[in-house]
């Protein structure tokens, strides 16, 4: 009888799957993003809505919101970052364990938004490296979900093994950040 089973057959090939380390690491990472809600203004309300049953962020494997930076790997900056608060945002970011990502949710976190003023930082990317920016004032929960899925795609493309062995991810990012700020 002809063998029609085209899938992996453990009886023939043993309990082995051949793949790349990056693919496995990224697959694990991107399906267990633990966000840290950095709720600073009204965007945080939409962030809460995204966590609620109607929009249900857990459909995409990132529902474990942790309010301690030690237990989170994705900071969602939701709201207006004032200069007085910038120090706190930066410190909480530094307390998060590697690997870590940042989503700037909404116009204020991305660029300062409508607050062109003496008190408001003109974009949180001046102090921490941002992976995904979400437009909107505030963005709808669907926009945040889309951003998180885009972040998952980005995590899926990372050279995780190289970063693990080189341990240079953070300094490199910081240097790039400092360079970007100096140029502007």
């Amino acid at each position: 009888m002809q063998n029609t089973n085209l899938a992996y057959d453990s009886k023939v090939e043993g309990e082995i799957i051949v793949t790349q380390a990056d693919a496995v690491i990224n697959w694990i990472r991107k399906h267990s993003v633990w966000p840290m809600p950095m709720g600073l203004a009204c965007c945080a309300i939409e962030l809460m809505a995204a966590g609620g049953s109607r929009f249900d962020i857990s459909r995409f494997g990132m529902e474990v919101m942790r309010f301690s930076p030690r237990q989170a790997d994705c900071m969602i900056v939701a709201g207006t970052v004032t200069y007085k608060m910038a120090e706190v945002v930066r410190r909480i970011y530094e307390q998060m364990a590697e690997p870590k990502w940042v989503v700037a949710m909404g116009a204020c976190a991305s660029t300062g938004g409508m607050y062109r003023s003496y008190a408001t930082m003109q974009g949180v990317d001046r102090i921490i490296p941002v992976d995904v920016y979400v437009s909107g004032c505030p963005p709808r929960p669907e926009a945040l979900l889309d951003a998180m899925i885009k972040l998952q795609d980005k995590i899926g493309r990372e050279s995780s093994l190289k970063n693990l062995t080189a341990r240079k991810r953070q300094p490199a990012k910081q240097a790039a950040l400092a360079g970007a700020v100096n140029e502007s």
Binding site: Y83, R90, M114, R116, I127
Partner: protein, 217 residues
């Protein structure tokens, strides 16, 4: 009602003058009499709630700063506004009302923070909105709308990120009307603040052209 109340006030406090007002009764009061007057308002006239403490910066006029107090009577349902001119234009100072109304505490801290009015006798006169080391009082008329460049409050964060408190570009923001034409033509007050990332500030452009001529020489 309001007129008879003013007459009652003036009968007892001859230093009060009526202040033009489009809504509630408003009186002018000299600063050294403010505590006495508000204590009497609270105890004898039923004005038992301090609604707001703020100030006006009259820019080039003298007296430059006027402290404003809004009181509410929860029994008569009447508002009263008290205006107190600060005698000193350079270091404006007013007596603190914290001994009369506990609500004055944070209100006076806010007015101190944003307008720079010193409240004598305040138990804890620190900034409340801006950070402690901030050198300016942002709601004063001579403070530009966009802000002034200063270091970030946290030195270690500033060192790690090279970030600064910058003057924010006003163009495209909500606090300036666009009108017809570019903003630096329609809003003279915003002339120096009408730059974007692409288009430089007029003053910077002038300085740059000067320095380039220096180089040419």
């Amino acid at each position: 009602m309001a007129q008879s109340e003013l007459a009652q006030f003036q009968e007892r406090f001859d230093y009060l003058t009526e202040r033009p007002s489009s809504d509630h009764l408003a009186v002018n009061c000299p600063p050294e009499k403010l505590v006495e007057f508000t204590t009497a308002l609270r105890d004898d006239f039923g004005y038992d709630m301090l609604i707001d403490v703020t100030a006006v910066d009259w820019d080039a006029q003298s007296p430059r700063f006027t402290g404003i107090y809004h009181l509410l009577s929860t029994t008569k349902h009447e508002y009263l506004r008290i205006a107190v001119a600060c005698p000193d234009d350079i270091h404006p100072s007013l007596p603190s009302l914290t001994s009369v109304f506990a609500a004055a505490n944070w209100h006076e801290r806010e007015t101190y923070d944003l307008m720079g009015i010193h409240y004598a006798g305040h138990p804890n006169l620190r900034r409340i909105l801006m950070w402690d080391a901030y050198p300016y009082h942002p709601l004063r008329k001579d403070f530009p709308l966009a802000g002034i460049e200063v270091p970030l409050p946290a030195a270690d964060v500033a060192e790690a990120t090279q970030a600064k408190v910058i003057a924010a570009p006003m163009m495209g923001g909500p606090f300036v009307s666009s009108g017809d034409g570019t903003m630096d033509q329609t809003e003279p007050r915003a002339r120096d603040e009408s730059w974007t990332e692409e288009r430089e500030r007029p003053n910077d452009r002038a300085e740059k052209s000067e320095s380039s001529t220096d180089l040419a020489r």
